[in-house]
Protein backbone atom coordinates (compact mmCIF):
# COMPACT_ATOMS: atom_id res chain seq x y z
CA UNK A 1 0.00 0.00 0.00
CA UNK A 2 1.32 3.37 -0.93
CA UNK A 3 1.68 6.06 1.66
CA UNK A 4 3.25 9.46 2.10
CA UNK A 5 4.23 11.13 5.32
CA UNK A 6 6.74 13.54 6.74
CA UNK A 7 9.25 12.10 9.19
CA UNK A 8 11.52 14.47 11.12
CA UNK A 9 10.82 17.13 8.55
CA UNK A 10 11.60 14.94 5.57
CA UNK A 11 8.97 13.83 3.08
CA UNK A 12 8.76 10.07 2.74
CA UNK A 13 7.01 8.01 0.06
CA UNK A 14 6.71 4.33 0.70
CA UNK A 15 4.93 1.17 -0.31
CA UNK A 16 4.26 -1.01 2.71
CA UNK A 17 2.39 -4.11 3.80
CA UNK A 18 -0.86 -3.21 5.54
CA UNK A 19 0.19 -5.12 8.65
CA UNK A 20 3.47 -3.24 9.12
CA UNK A 21 3.29 -1.17 12.27
CA UNK A 22 4.47 2.41 12.34
CA UNK A 23 7.20 1.35 14.78
CA UNK A 24 8.59 -1.28 12.45
CA UNK A 25 8.23 1.05 9.49
CA UNK A 26 10.36 3.70 11.19
CA UNK A 27 12.93 1.21 12.44
CA UNK A 28 13.36 -1.07 9.47
CA UNK A 29 12.07 0.72 6.37
CA UNK A 30 13.54 4.10 7.28
CA UNK A 31 16.43 2.85 9.39
CA UNK A 32 15.45 5.15 12.27
CA UNK A 33 16.24 2.60 14.93
CA UNK A 34 16.08 5.09 17.79
CA UNK A 35 12.41 4.24 18.31
CA UNK A 36 12.39 1.00 20.28
CA UNK A 37 9.97 -1.89 20.47
CA UNK A 38 9.50 -3.16 24.02
CA UNK A 39 6.19 -5.00 24.13
CA UNK A 40 4.18 -4.68 20.89
CA UNK A 41 0.95 -4.47 22.85
CA UNK A 42 0.78 -0.87 23.87
CA UNK A 43 1.92 -0.89 27.49
CA UNK A 44 5.61 -0.04 27.81
CA UNK A 45 5.81 3.20 25.79
CA UNK A 46 9.30 2.57 24.41
CA UNK A 47 7.88 3.04 20.90
CA UNK A 48 6.46 6.53 21.56
CA UNK A 49 6.76 9.01 18.70
CA UNK A 50 4.75 12.12 17.95
CA UNK A 51 2.10 12.15 15.27
CA UNK A 52 1.03 15.66 14.30
CA UNK A 53 2.53 16.79 17.59
CA UNK A 54 0.75 14.27 19.82
CA UNK A 55 2.52 11.45 21.59
CA UNK A 56 1.35 8.06 20.32
CA UNK A 57 2.38 4.43 20.71
CA UNK A 58 3.82 3.59 17.32
CA UNK A 59 3.43 -0.13 17.94
CA UNK A 60 -0.34 0.41 18.02
CA UNK A 61 -0.49 2.16 14.68
CA UNK A 62 -0.23 0.77 11.22
CA UNK A 63 2.27 2.58 9.05
CA UNK A 64 -0.50 3.23 6.53
CA UNK A 65 -2.48 5.04 9.20
CA UNK A 66 0.30 7.66 9.26
CA UNK A 67 -0.42 8.53 5.63
CA UNK A 68 -0.59 12.30 5.37
CA UNK A 69 0.73 12.83 8.87
CA UNK A 70 3.81 14.42 10.33
CA UNK A 71 5.85 12.09 12.50
CA UNK A 72 8.72 12.98 14.79
CA UNK A 73 11.09 10.48 16.36
CA UNK A 74 13.94 10.82 18.83
CA UNK A 75 16.32 11.37 15.93
CA UNK A 76 14.41 14.56 15.19
CA UNK A 77 14.73 16.03 18.68
CA UNK A 78 18.06 17.70 18.12
CA UNK A 79 19.75 18.89 14.99
CA UNK A 80 22.54 16.38 15.42
CA UNK A 81 25.19 18.79 16.62
CA UNK A 82 24.23 19.32 20.24
CA UNK A 83 21.80 17.74 22.64
CA UNK A 84 18.44 19.46 22.97
CA UNK A 85 17.75 21.02 26.39
CA UNK A 86 15.56 18.04 27.29
CA UNK A 87 18.25 15.56 26.27
CA UNK A 88 20.89 17.54 28.14
CA UNK A 89 18.71 17.56 31.25
CA UNK A 90 18.36 13.78 31.07
CA UNK A 91 22.12 13.43 30.88
CA UNK A 92 22.75 15.85 33.71
CA UNK A 93 20.30 14.09 36.03
CA UNK A 94 21.44 10.57 35.15
CA UNK A 95 17.92 9.88 33.94
CA UNK A 96 18.96 6.86 31.91
CA UNK A 97 20.99 3.69 32.39
CA UNK A 98 20.47 1.11 29.68
CA UNK A 99 18.87 3.71 27.41
CA UNK A 100 16.20 1.44 25.99
CA UNK A 101 13.15 3.31 27.32
CA UNK A 102 14.85 6.68 26.80
CA UNK A 103 13.68 7.62 23.30
CA UNK A 104 10.08 6.95 24.33
CA UNK A 105 10.54 8.95 27.52
CA UNK A 106 11.99 11.87 25.59
CA UNK A 107 9.22 11.92 23.00
CA UNK A 108 6.45 11.80 25.61
CA UNK A 109 8.10 14.48 27.72
CA UNK A 110 8.75 16.62 24.67
CA UNK A 111 5.14 16.35 23.50
CA UNK A 112 3.91 17.27 26.97
CA UNK A 113 6.21 20.24 27.49
CA UNK A 114 5.43 21.69 24.07
CA UNK A 115 1.82 22.01 25.15
CA UNK A 116 2.19 22.32 28.93
CA UNK A 117 5.55 23.94 29.67
CA UNK A 118 4.41 24.73 33.21
CA UNK A 119 3.33 21.21 34.09
CA UNK A 120 3.82 20.44 37.77
CA UNK A 121 5.41 17.29 39.11
CA UNK A 122 2.13 15.42 39.65
CA UNK A 123 1.05 16.12 36.08
CA UNK A 124 4.45 15.10 34.72
CA UNK A 125 4.32 11.85 36.67
CA UNK A 126 0.80 11.20 35.47
CA UNK A 127 1.76 11.69 31.83
CA UNK A 128 5.00 9.71 32.15
CA UNK A 129 3.15 6.80 33.80
CA UNK A 130 2.58 5.41 30.32
CA UNK A 131 6.32 4.91 29.80
CA UNK A 132 7.95 2.06 31.72
CA UNK A 133 11.55 2.14 32.90
CA UNK A 134 13.15 -0.78 34.72
CA UNK A 135 16.52 0.79 35.46
CA UNK A 136 16.05 4.22 37.05
CA UNK A 137 13.01 4.09 39.30
CA UNK A 138 11.81 7.32 37.58
CA UNK A 139 13.08 9.80 40.18
CA UNK A 140 15.85 11.20 37.99
CA UNK A 141 13.66 11.18 34.89
CA UNK A 142 11.07 13.38 36.58
CA UNK A 143 13.75 15.73 37.83
CA UNK A 144 15.21 16.03 34.36
CA UNK A 145 11.82 16.88 32.88
CA UNK A 146 11.14 19.43 35.62
CA UNK A 147 14.41 21.15 34.82
CA UNK A 148 13.78 21.04 31.08
CA UNK A 149 10.53 22.99 31.46
CA UNK A 150 12.42 26.25 31.44
CA UNK A 151 13.61 25.66 27.88
CA UNK A 152 10.09 25.12 26.61
CA UNK A 153 8.56 28.02 28.46
CA UNK A 154 11.16 30.51 27.30
CA UNK A 155 11.11 29.15 23.77
CA UNK A 156 7.39 29.75 23.55
CA UNK A 157 7.67 33.28 24.80
CA UNK A 158 10.42 33.92 22.30
CA UNK A 159 13.16 33.95 24.89
CA UNK A 160 11.75 36.95 26.74
CA UNK A 161 11.15 36.59 30.47
Amino acid sequence: MKMTCVVNGKRIEADVEARLTLADFLRHELGLSGTHVGCEHGVCGACTVTLNGSAVRSCLMLAVQADGAEVRTVEGLSDGAALSPLQAAFRKHHALQCGFCTPGMLMTAHALLEVEPDAEEARIREVMSGNLCRCTGYVDIIEAILEARAAYGSARSGGAN
Binding site: A18, D24, G45, S129, G130
Partner: protein
Amino acid sequence: MKLPQFDYAAPATLEDAVALLAAHQGDARPIAGGQSLIPILAFRLAGPSLLVDLRKLPGLDRISVSDEGVTLGAMVRWCDIEADRRLDTAHPLLSAAVACIAHYQVRNRGTVGGSLAHADPAAELPGIAMTSDAEIVIAGSAGSRTLKAADFFLAPLMTALGPDELVVELRLPAWLPGRRWAFEEYARQQGAFALAGIALFYDEQDGVAKNAHIGVIGASSGLHRLAAAEAAVNRRSVDEQVIAEAADEGAGEVDPADDIDASADYRRALVRTLLQRALGAASTRAGGRRERGLP
Protein backbone atom coordinates in the same frame (compact mmCIF):
# COMPACT_ATOMS: atom_id res chain seq x y z
CA MET B 1 4.10 -10.44 18.00
CA LYS B 2 3.99 -9.27 14.43
CA LEU B 3 0.48 -8.74 13.14
CA PRO B 4 -1.21 -11.41 11.00
CA GLN B 5 -1.91 -10.63 7.38
CA PHE B 6 -4.96 -8.59 6.46
CA ASP B 7 -6.15 -6.24 3.76
CA TYR B 8 -6.74 -2.62 4.60
CA ALA B 9 -9.12 0.03 3.40
CA ALA B 10 -9.72 3.60 4.49
CA PRO B 11 -13.06 4.51 2.88
CA ALA B 12 -14.11 8.11 2.51
CA THR B 13 -17.78 7.74 3.42
CA LEU B 14 -19.82 5.95 6.01
CA GLU B 15 -21.77 4.19 3.27
CA ASP B 16 -18.57 2.81 1.77
CA ALA B 17 -17.39 1.65 5.18
CA VAL B 18 -20.64 -0.17 5.86
CA ALA B 19 -20.61 -1.70 2.39
CA LEU B 20 -17.10 -3.07 2.94
CA LEU B 21 -18.08 -4.62 6.25
CA ALA B 22 -21.20 -6.13 4.72
CA ALA B 23 -19.29 -7.51 1.74
CA HIS B 24 -16.87 -9.41 4.00
CA GLN B 25 -19.66 -11.08 5.95
CA GLY B 26 -18.23 -10.81 9.43
CA ASP B 27 -14.62 -11.33 8.44
CA ALA B 28 -13.84 -7.62 8.33
CA ARG B 29 -13.34 -5.41 11.36
CA PRO B 30 -13.51 -1.67 11.71
CA ILE B 31 -10.49 0.07 13.20
CA ALA B 32 -10.67 3.46 14.87
CA GLY B 33 -7.88 4.33 17.34
CA GLY B 34 -6.62 0.76 17.33
CA GLN B 35 -5.67 0.90 21.00
CA SER B 36 -7.69 -2.21 21.78
CA LEU B 37 -7.75 -3.86 18.37
CA ILE B 38 -4.04 -3.82 17.53
CA PRO B 39 -3.04 -5.67 20.73
CA ILE B 40 -5.70 -8.27 19.95
CA LEU B 41 -4.16 -8.73 16.51
CA ALA B 42 -0.64 -8.75 17.96
CA PHE B 43 -1.59 -11.65 20.23
CA ARG B 44 -3.21 -13.26 17.18
CA LEU B 45 -6.49 -13.59 19.04
CA ALA B 46 -8.32 -12.46 15.91
CA GLY B 47 -7.56 -12.81 12.22
CA PRO B 48 -9.82 -10.55 10.18
CA SER B 49 -9.29 -10.59 6.44
CA LEU B 50 -9.89 -6.84 6.17
CA LEU B 51 -9.48 -3.83 8.42
CA VAL B 52 -11.77 -0.94 7.59
CA ASP B 53 -10.15 2.23 8.88
CA LEU B 54 -12.70 4.85 9.92
CA ARG B 55 -10.24 7.75 10.06
CA LYS B 56 -11.39 9.42 6.86
CA LEU B 57 -15.11 9.33 7.61
CA PRO B 58 -16.35 12.91 7.88
CA GLY B 59 -18.32 14.38 10.73
CA LEU B 60 -17.74 11.64 13.32
CA ASP B 61 -15.33 13.64 15.48
CA ARG B 62 -17.73 16.26 16.79
CA ILE B 63 -18.74 16.94 20.37
CA SER B 64 -22.00 18.82 20.60
CA VAL B 65 -23.54 20.28 23.73
CA SER B 66 -27.16 21.40 23.71
CA ASP B 67 -30.28 21.35 25.78
CA GLU B 68 -30.81 17.79 24.57
CA GLY B 69 -27.61 16.70 26.16
CA VAL B 70 -24.12 15.82 25.04
CA THR B 71 -23.45 14.02 21.78
CA LEU B 72 -20.07 12.43 21.09
CA GLY B 73 -19.20 11.29 17.60
CA ALA B 74 -17.70 7.81 17.33
CA MET B 75 -14.28 9.16 16.37
CA VAL B 76 -14.08 11.59 19.27
CA ARG B 77 -10.91 10.80 21.20
CA TRP B 78 -10.31 10.93 24.95
CA CYS B 79 -7.99 13.93 24.47
CA ASP B 80 -10.81 15.75 22.64
CA ILE B 81 -13.12 15.21 25.61
CA GLU B 82 -10.39 16.37 27.97
CA ALA B 83 -9.87 19.51 25.93
CA ASP B 84 -13.55 20.47 25.72
CA ARG B 85 -14.08 22.44 28.90
CA ARG B 86 -17.83 22.79 28.24
CA LEU B 87 -18.11 19.25 29.50
CA ASP B 88 -17.06 20.23 33.02
CA THR B 89 -20.56 21.56 33.45
CA ALA B 90 -22.39 19.90 30.57
CA HIS B 91 -21.52 16.42 31.83
CA PRO B 92 -19.14 16.37 34.80
CA LEU B 93 -19.56 12.63 35.26
CA LEU B 94 -18.25 11.99 31.76
CA SER B 95 -15.30 14.32 32.35
CA ALA B 96 -14.45 12.66 35.63
CA ALA B 97 -14.58 9.18 34.16
CA VAL B 98 -12.53 10.03 31.07
CA ALA B 99 -9.80 11.44 33.29
CA CYS B 100 -9.20 7.90 34.55
CA ILE B 101 -8.82 6.30 31.15
CA ALA B 102 -5.51 4.71 30.19
CA HIS B 103 -2.36 6.71 29.52
CA TYR B 104 -1.32 9.87 27.71
CA GLN B 105 -0.43 8.22 24.41
CA VAL B 106 -3.57 6.07 24.35
CA ARG B 107 -5.72 9.10 25.06
CA ASN B 108 -4.47 10.70 21.84
CA ARG B 109 -5.80 7.79 19.79
CA GLY B 110 -8.51 5.90 21.66
CA THR B 111 -12.07 6.73 20.60
CA VAL B 112 -15.62 6.78 21.93
CA GLY B 113 -16.85 4.42 19.22
CA GLY B 114 -13.97 2.03 19.71
CA SER B 115 -14.53 1.83 23.43
CA LEU B 116 -18.26 1.24 23.09
CA ALA B 117 -17.81 -1.41 20.41
CA HIS B 118 -15.16 -3.19 22.46
CA ALA B 119 -17.50 -3.24 25.48
CA ASP B 120 -14.98 -4.12 28.14
CA PRO B 121 -16.95 -4.23 31.40
CA ALA B 122 -13.97 -2.73 33.22
CA ALA B 123 -13.76 0.25 30.88
CA GLU B 124 -15.06 3.63 31.91
CA LEU B 125 -17.10 4.82 28.94
CA PRO B 126 -19.39 1.79 28.63
CA GLY B 127 -20.04 2.20 32.35
CA ILE B 128 -20.91 5.88 31.92
CA ALA B 129 -23.14 5.09 28.97
CA MET B 130 -24.98 2.47 30.99
CA THR B 131 -25.29 4.61 34.11
CA SER B 132 -26.53 7.64 32.18
CA ASP B 133 -29.06 5.60 30.23
CA ALA B 134 -27.41 6.87 27.10
CA GLU B 135 -28.35 6.10 23.52
CA ILE B 136 -26.01 4.70 20.94
CA VAL B 137 -26.62 5.48 17.27
CA ILE B 138 -25.58 2.77 14.88
CA ALA B 139 -25.23 2.70 11.09
CA GLY B 140 -25.44 -0.47 9.02
CA SER B 141 -26.49 -1.69 5.62
CA ALA B 142 -30.10 -1.86 6.86
CA GLY B 143 -29.89 1.80 7.77
CA SER B 144 -29.49 3.66 10.99
CA ARG B 145 -30.86 2.60 14.38
CA THR B 146 -30.63 3.83 17.94
CA LEU B 147 -30.28 1.58 20.96
CA LYS B 148 -30.43 2.28 24.64
CA ALA B 149 -27.15 1.37 26.33
CA ALA B 150 -28.86 -1.46 28.19
CA ASP B 151 -29.84 -3.00 24.87
CA PHE B 152 -26.48 -2.31 23.22
CA PHE B 153 -24.25 -4.06 25.75
CA LEU B 154 -25.18 -7.74 25.72
CA ALA B 155 -22.31 -9.32 27.65
CA PRO B 156 -18.66 -8.64 28.39
CA LEU B 157 -16.96 -7.82 25.07
CA MET B 158 -20.24 -8.41 23.24
CA THR B 159 -22.59 -5.83 21.79
CA ALA B 160 -25.66 -5.79 19.62
CA LEU B 161 -23.59 -4.57 16.65
CA GLY B 162 -24.08 -6.68 13.55
CA PRO B 163 -21.04 -7.57 11.42
CA ASP B 164 -21.89 -4.73 9.02
CA GLU B 165 -22.64 -2.11 11.66
CA LEU B 166 -20.69 0.78 13.14
CA VAL B 167 -21.18 3.00 16.15
CA VAL B 168 -21.81 6.52 14.90
CA GLU B 169 -22.67 8.50 17.97
CA LEU B 170 -23.16 8.38 21.74
CA ARG B 171 -25.98 10.51 23.09
CA LEU B 172 -25.92 11.37 26.76
CA PRO B 173 -29.14 12.82 28.16
CA ALA B 174 -29.06 16.40 29.35
CA TRP B 175 -27.43 17.04 32.69
CA LEU B 176 -29.74 18.78 35.13
CA PRO B 177 -28.57 21.75 37.21
CA GLY B 178 -28.00 21.05 40.90
CA ARG B 179 -27.46 17.38 40.20
CA ARG B 180 -25.44 15.42 42.71
CA TRP B 181 -22.88 13.05 41.24
CA ALA B 182 -19.71 11.11 41.92
CA PHE B 183 -17.23 8.88 40.17
CA GLU B 184 -15.16 6.56 42.35
CA GLU B 185 -12.81 4.09 40.77
CA TYR B 186 -10.18 1.85 42.29
CA ALA B 187 -7.45 0.61 39.99
CA ARG B 188 -4.07 -0.88 40.93
CA GLN B 189 -2.20 1.79 39.07
CA GLN B 190 -2.79 5.10 37.32
CA GLY B 191 -4.55 4.43 34.04
CA ALA B 192 -5.15 0.74 34.64
CA PHE B 193 -8.51 -0.97 34.28
CA ALA B 194 -10.62 -0.58 37.39
CA LEU B 195 -10.87 -3.41 39.89
CA ALA B 196 -14.19 -1.73 40.51
CA GLY B 197 -15.75 1.63 39.84
CA ILE B 198 -18.97 3.39 40.67
CA ALA B 199 -20.57 6.11 38.56
CA LEU B 200 -23.65 7.72 39.98
CA PHE B 201 -25.89 10.72 40.02
CA TYR B 202 -29.19 11.71 41.52
CA ASP B 203 -31.34 14.79 41.58
CA GLU B 204 -32.71 16.42 44.68
CA GLN B 205 -36.01 18.02 45.54
CA ASP B 206 -36.51 19.47 48.98
CA GLY B 207 -33.58 17.50 50.27
CA VAL B 208 -34.95 14.23 48.96
CA ALA B 209 -33.22 12.20 46.28
CA LYS B 210 -34.86 11.11 43.06
CA ASN B 211 -33.94 9.81 39.65
CA ALA B 212 -30.92 7.95 41.06
CA HIS B 213 -28.69 6.35 38.46
CA ILE B 214 -25.97 4.10 39.87
CA GLY B 215 -23.74 2.02 37.64
CA VAL B 216 -20.90 -0.37 38.35
CA ILE B 217 -17.68 -0.76 36.38
CA GLY B 218 -15.50 -3.80 36.43
CA ALA B 219 -16.79 -5.77 39.37
CA SER B 220 -19.67 -7.59 37.87
CA SER B 221 -20.26 -10.11 35.17
CA GLY B 222 -21.54 -7.37 32.90
CA LEU B 223 -22.53 -3.76 32.70
CA HIS B 224 -25.62 -2.85 34.64
CA ARG B 225 -27.17 -0.34 36.90
CA LEU B 226 -27.64 -1.19 40.56
CA ALA B 227 -31.44 -1.03 40.76
CA ALA B 228 -31.71 -2.02 44.40
CA ALA B 229 -29.13 0.57 45.40
CA GLU B 230 -31.03 3.16 43.39
CA ALA B 231 -34.24 2.17 45.12
CA ALA B 232 -32.54 2.57 48.51
CA VAL B 233 -31.65 6.14 47.59
CA ASN B 234 -34.76 7.36 45.79
CA ARG B 235 -37.32 9.21 47.88
CA ARG B 236 -34.91 9.35 50.81
CA SER B 237 -32.74 11.98 52.31
CA VAL B 238 -29.25 10.73 51.60
CA ASP B 239 -27.70 10.44 55.05
CA GLU B 240 -25.22 7.98 56.56
CA GLN B 241 -27.83 5.33 57.14
CA VAL B 242 -29.21 5.53 53.63
CA ILE B 243 -25.70 5.40 52.28
CA ALA B 244 -24.92 2.27 54.28
CA GLU B 245 -28.12 0.60 53.13
CA ALA B 246 -27.60 1.53 49.51
CA ALA B 247 -24.01 0.28 49.69
CA ASP B 248 -25.16 -3.08 51.06
CA GLU B 249 -27.84 -3.35 48.39
CA GLY B 250 -25.39 -2.50 45.66
CA ALA B 251 -22.83 -5.00 46.87
CA GLY B 252 -25.52 -7.65 46.81
CA GLU B 253 -26.42 -6.87 43.20
CA VAL B 254 -23.04 -7.49 41.67
CA ASP B 255 -21.85 -10.94 40.69
CA PRO B 256 -18.11 -10.75 40.17
CA ALA B 257 -16.11 -13.83 39.37
CA ASP B 258 -12.91 -14.98 41.05
CA ASP B 259 -9.99 -14.14 38.80
CA ILE B 260 -6.24 -13.79 39.06
CA ASP B 261 -6.47 -10.15 40.10
CA ALA B 262 -9.02 -10.51 42.87
CA SER B 263 -11.57 -12.80 44.47
CA ALA B 264 -15.30 -12.27 44.08
CA ASP B 265 -15.53 -11.47 47.82
CA TYR B 266 -12.97 -8.74 47.45
CA ARG B 267 -14.69 -7.13 44.48
CA ARG B 268 -18.02 -7.25 46.20
CA ALA B 269 -16.54 -5.59 49.27
CA LEU B 270 -14.84 -3.06 47.02
CA VAL B 271 -18.17 -2.21 45.42
CA ARG B 272 -19.66 -1.63 48.84
CA THR B 273 -16.77 0.64 49.86
CA LEU B 274 -16.77 2.63 46.61
CA LEU B 275 -20.53 3.01 46.65
CA GLN B 276 -20.35 4.31 50.19
CA ARG B 277 -17.65 6.77 49.27
CA ALA B 278 -19.36 7.85 46.08
CA LEU B 279 -22.66 8.51 47.79
CA GLY B 280 -20.82 10.28 50.58
CA ALA B 281 -19.03 12.51 48.09
CA ALA B 282 -22.20 13.16 46.08
CA SER B 283 -24.31 14.00 49.09
CA THR B 284 -21.90 16.32 50.86
CA ARG B 285 -20.66 18.44 48.02
CA ALA B 286 -21.56 19.27 44.48
CA GLY B 287 -19.87 16.08 43.40
CA GLY B 288 -16.39 15.00 42.61
CA ARG B 289 -14.13 12.26 41.55
CA ARG B 290 -11.40 10.41 43.28
CA GLU B 291 -9.39 7.53 42.09
CA ARG B 292 -7.06 5.28 43.89
CA GLY B 293 -6.02 7.59 46.69
CA LEU B 294 -3.27 9.25 44.70
CA PRO B 295 -1.30 11.74 46.78
